[in-house]
C-alpha cells in the first residue's frame, strides 16, 4: 500500500516514528506484519526462533508511523509498537 | 427474584404437576424445555408458575437446546431444570455428559414411556433406567431417583435439587407415565430456604481460586459467572485450573475424581425403603410405579404364609450395591419386577453374586404388571 499524495503540511509536521518490539517466542513467521505494513518497515529476516519459525526484522524503523497495524493484524500478539513519548526508556 | 414462601397446602394433582411444584419449592427459578408426551404438563405448569415467583420459563427449539440452556442458567447461579421423555432423553445425552464434565448442578426429569424410538408415546415403561446411568459417552457418574407417586415425585424433586447442589452433578428424576399422569393428594409443606442445600461458593479471592480443585469430599467450590472470578470451564479434559490438558495423567486424575465424587459418597446419597425385610426369604426389589403393585403382591404372599418382603429402591444410581450384597446372604431369591425386559435386574444379579437367585418379572411396557404376575413369581421362587 503506497501513499499516493504528500500531505500539504508534511514539511512542518513530523510524525513521531514508532519503536517495534517483537516477542520472538510467540512469533510463528506468518509474515503478515511484513506484507501489510503500509510503510514497508519490516522484512523477513534470517533468524529462526526456537520452534523453527522464521522471524521478521525491522528494515527501516524511521519509516514507522506507529499506526499499529502490524500489532493488530498479528495473529500471535507477538509484535508491539510504541511511540517515544509513551516509551519510558526514551 | 421473589421468594416463594407459600404456606403449607394440600393439592389433588398429577405427578407432572407435583414435580413442577417440587421444583419451585426447591428454589428452581429456571426451566427450559420442549413439549413431549408425557412430560409436557411439567413444562406447562412451570410456564404458569415461574413468572409468578419471579423465575424464567423458556421453551427452547429442541431438547439439545433445552439441556444446554439449563446448564448455562446453572452457571449463571440459578437452580435449573428440564423435563422430557425417552426420545428427548436420548437427545440430551451429549449435553448431560457436558453437565457431568463441567460439574454443573441441575435436574433432568424423565417421565418414561415405552420405546425404543417413538414407541408408545402415551403409555408407561421403565426402559431408560440403564440409559440413565450409561447414556452419555465416557466415564462419569450421575445420581438418579425413582418416585412411585405424585407425593414422592414432589419430595424427590426437592431431594434431586439438594443432591445436585451438594455434589455438583446433574441429578435425574426417573419417573414414568403412570406416576406422571395419575392424580393423588400431595401435601406441600412450607419450605424454608435454610432447609435447601445451596452450592458451595469459593471462599478465596479470584486470584487464588482454582475452579476444579476439590475439597475433602471431592466436590470443588463453584464460582458462577459475573462475580469476577474469570474462570474457564471446558468440556475438554482439564486440570484444577480448568485449562484443557491432553495427557493420560490428567485424564486419570479427573475421571477418578468425577466418578469417586459419587461412589465414595454413596452412603450419604443412597436411599431405599424396606418393608417386612427382617425375616424375609424372598425379597421383591422394585422401583417407580411397580413398587405399588409389588406391595400388593408382597402382602398377598404374606397372607399365604410366604415370608416375602419389599425393598423399594429410591436411589437407582448409584445403585444400592452394599444393601443387596448384605441381603443376598439372608434370602433365597430376589424378585425384580420391571416395566422393561431386564435392566435393574442386571444390577441386582451382579450384586447378589450368585448367593441368591435373581428372578426378573418383565413387562414390555404399555401398561403396568398385575399383582398376580409378581405373586406367581414369588410362589415359584419358594419352590
Amino acid at each position: 500500500m503506497k501513499l499516493w499524495r504528500k500531505p500539504f503540511d508534511s514539511a512542518e509536521t513530523a510524525t513521531t516514528p514508532g519503536k517495534i518490539y517483537l516477542d520472538k517466542e510467540r512469533c510463528k513467521g506468518c509474515g503478515y506484519c511484513v506484507e501489510f505494513c503500509p510503510r514497508d518497515v519490516l522484512k523477513m529476516g534470517n533468524e529462526l526462533n526456537p520452534k523453527g519459525y522464521l522471524l521478521p526484522v525491522v528494515d527501516d524503523e524511521t519509516r514507522c508511523l506507529a499506526c499499529g497495524y502490524c500489532e493488530v493484524i498479528c495473529p500471535e500478539f507477538a509484535i508491539k509498537v510504541s511511540t517515544p513519548e509513551n516509551n519510558s526508556d526514551g | 427474584m421473589t421468594e416463594n414462601r407459600a404456606p403449607a397446602r394440600e393439592l389433588f394433582i398429577s405427578g407432572d404437576v407435583a414435580c413442577a411444584e417440587g421444583a419451585i419449592s426447591a428454589g428452581c427459578r429456571f426451566f427450559a424445555g420442549y413439549p413431549i408426551t408425557p412430560a409436557t404438563e411439567i413444562a406447562e405448569r412451570m410456564s404458569l408458575r415461574l413468572p409468578q415467583v419471579g423465575g424464567t420459563y423458556i421453551q427452547m427449539e429442541d431438547e439439545l437446546a433445552s439441556m444446554n440452556a439449563v446448564l448455562g442458567a446453572a452457571w449463571a447461579g440459578a437452580k435449573a431444570m428440564t423435563a422430557t421423555s425417552g426420545p428427548g432423553f436420548s437427545l440430551m445425552m451429549e449435553n448431560l455428559g457436558l453437565g457431568a464434565m463441567l460439574e454443573t448442578p441441575c435436574v433432568l426429569v424423565n417421565i418414561q414411556r415405552a420405546g425404543p424410538s417413538t414407541g408408545l408415546p402415551t403409555l408407561v415403561a421403565q426402559q431408560d433406567m440403564m440409559q440413565a446411568r450409561w447414556g452419555s459417552h465416557g466415564d462419569y457418574e450421575i445420581i438418579a431417583l425413582s418416585p412411585s407417586s405424585p407425593q414422592e415425585i414432589f419430595d424427590f424433586t426437592i431431594t434431586a435439587f439438594n443432591l445436585s447442589e451438594r455434589y455438583r452433578v446433574p441429578v435425574l428424576v426417573m419417573s414414568d407415565e403412570v406416576v406422571g399422569h395419575m392424580s393423588e393428594k400431595v401435601v406441600i409443606p412450607e419450605i424454608t430456604p435454610e432447609s435447601l442445600y445451596q452450592r458451595r461458593l469459593p471462599q478465596v479471592a479470584p486470584e487464588e481460586y482454582l475452579p476444579y480443585q476439590p475439597d475433602a469430599d471431592l466436590v470443588p467450590p463453584m464460582a458462577i459467572a459475573g462475580q469476577g472470578y474469570h474462570f474457564h470451564a471446558t468440556g475438554l479434559t482439564h486440570d484444577e485450573m480448568g485449562y484443557p490438558v491432553m495427557t493420560a495423567e490428567a485424564q486419570d486424575k479427573l475421571i477418578r475424581r468425577l466418578v469417586d465424587k459419587i461412589r465414595l459418597n454413596s452412603k450419604q446419597i443412597i436411599e431405599y425403603r424396606e418393608t417386612q425385610i427382617e425375616d424375609a426369604d424372598i425379597i421383591v426389589c422394585a422401583y417407580g410405579i411397580t413398587t405399588r403393585i409389588a406391595r400388593f403382591a408382597v402382602n398377598m404372599a404374606r397372607e399365604e404364609g410366604i415370608r416375602a418382603g419389599l425393598l423399594q429402591l429410591i436411589t437407582i444410581w448409584p445403585f444400592a450395591e452394599d444393601r443387596i450384597r448384605e441381603l443376598s446372604s439372608q434370602v433365597k431369591a430376589f424378585i425384580v419386577p420391571e416395566i422393561n425386559y431386564g435392566q435393574i435386574v442386571l444390577e441386582v444379579e451382579r450384586c447378589a453374586g450368585g448367593k441368591a437367585e435373581t428372578i426378573l418379572v418383565p413387562h414390555m411396557g404399555g401398561g403396568v404388571p398385575s399383582p398376580d404376575t409378581i405373586l406367581n413369581a414369588i410362589r415359584e421362587a419358594t419352590r
Partner: protein
C-alpha cells in the same frame, strides 16, 4: 511477553491467559486477530469485564474461550448459543458473547442460531468464517463457496453455501455486520457497538485458514489468502443482506448491514412476569 507503555496492547495482554500462550492456532490463522479484536472491542465498549461471559463451541474458533481471561465456557459442538441463552436468562446482568466458527454456528448449531435471532435475545455472536471445518482438517462446511476445494469435496463443492448475514437478519437479528480480519479496526468498532446494543447482534468475520482451506484453494500462504480477501472486499455499509453472497473469485461485501431496534426477549419476559403477578394480586 513484551509489554510496552502503549495502553492498547496492555489491554490485550491483561485479558489474555498469559500462561497459555502461544496459542495453538496455525501460523497466519485468522482466529488470533479476531480474538484480539474481541478484546479491544470489549475494552472500547467500557463494559465491566467481570460481567462478560464468553461462550464458544467446538473448532478452532471455539478454543478462544480458553485464551481469554474472562468467565468463559467451552461447550459442545453447536450448542454455544443455547448455553449462552441460559446464562443470559439466569443472570440478565451478564453481557454474553458467543465466539465460534462457521461450522459450529451454522451447521450443527444452525437451528439455535436462527431461533436466538428470532427471539432477539440480548447477546453478541461473533462467527469466524474460514469457509471450512478447520480443526478436523478442512472439510466442506455450510459456508464453503460453490466449487471450493476441501478435503471432502475433491471435485469441488457441489452445494450452495449460506449467506449468513441474510439468514440471520431474516431470522430477526437487530445488528448484522461482516468484516474480514484485514478490516481489523472496523471489526474492533463493530464489536464494541454490538456489545452495548441490546438485542441479537451477529458479526461475521471472514478469516484466513492458510494451512487447510487456503492451501487447498490455491492460496498457499496466509498472506496470499489475506491479500485475496483484501482485494475482493468491497465496503458497503447498509447493503441489503440478500445481496452479500460469497462466490469463489467474486466480491466479498463487507460492512454494517443491519442496525435496527426490536423488543428483546428479556423485555418481553418481564412483561410476562408482570402479567402473572398482577393476576395473582387480582385473585387475592
Amino acid at each position: 511477553m513484551i509489554t510496552t507503555p502503549n495502553v492498547e496492547n496492555q489491554t490485550i495482554e491483561k485479558f489474555l491467559r498469559q500462561d497459555r500462550l502461544p496459542h495453538i492456532f496455525c501460523p497466519g490463522c485468522g482466529v488470533g486477530p479476531a480474538m484480539g479484536s474481541l478484546l479491544r472491542g470489549i475494552d472500547r465498549s467500557e463494559i465491566d469485564p467481570d460481567k462478560i461471559a464468553v461462550v464458544s463451541g467446538i473448532g478452532c474458533s471455539g478454543r478462544v474461550a480458553g485464551y481469554v481471561k474472562l468467565d468463559s465456557f467451552h461447550t459442545t459442538h453447536g450448542r454455544a448459543i443455547p448455553f449462552a441463552t441460559g446464562l443470559k436468562l439466569g443472570n440478565p446482568e451478564l453481557n454474553v458473547v458467543v465466539f465460534s466458527g462457521d461450522g459450529d454456528l451454522a451447521a450443527i448449531g444452525g437451528n439455535h442460531l436462527i431461533h436466538a435471532a428470532r427471539r432477539n435475545i440480548n447477546m453478541t455472536v461473533i462467527c469466524v468464517n474460514n469457509f471450512n471445518y478447520g480443526m478436523t482438517g478442512g472439510q466442506v462446511g455450510p459456508t464453503s463457496p460453490f466449487e471450493a476445494r476441501t478435503s471432502t469435496t475433491t471435485y469441488g463443492n457441489f452445494e450452495t453455501p449460506f449467506n449468513l448475514p441474510y439468514l440471520v437478519s431474516a431470522s430477526g437479528a437487530t445488528y448484522v455486520a461482516r468484516w474480514t480480519t484485514i478490516h481489523i479496526r472496523q471489526l474492533d468498532k463493530a464489536i464494541s457497538e454490538a456489545l452495548v446494543k441490546p438485542g441479537f447482534s451477529f458479526i461475521e468475520v471472514i478469516a484466513p485458514c492458510p494451512v487447510v482451506y487456503g492451501r487447498m484453494n490455491k492460496k498457499p500462504e496466509g498472506k496470499d489468502e489475506l491479500r485475496y480477501y483484501q482485494e475482493k472486499s468491497v465496503t458497503r455499509n447498509g447493503a441489503d443482506p440478500k445481496d452479500v453472497d460469497i462466490e469463489l473469485n467474486g466480491p466479498i461485501i463487507v460492512g454494517k448491514f443491519v442496525d435496527i431496534e426490536r423488543p428483546t426477549l428479556w423485555e418481553r419476559l418481564q412483561q410476562v412476569t408482570e402479567k402473572a403477578q398482577a393476576r395473582i394480586k387480582t385473585k387475592k
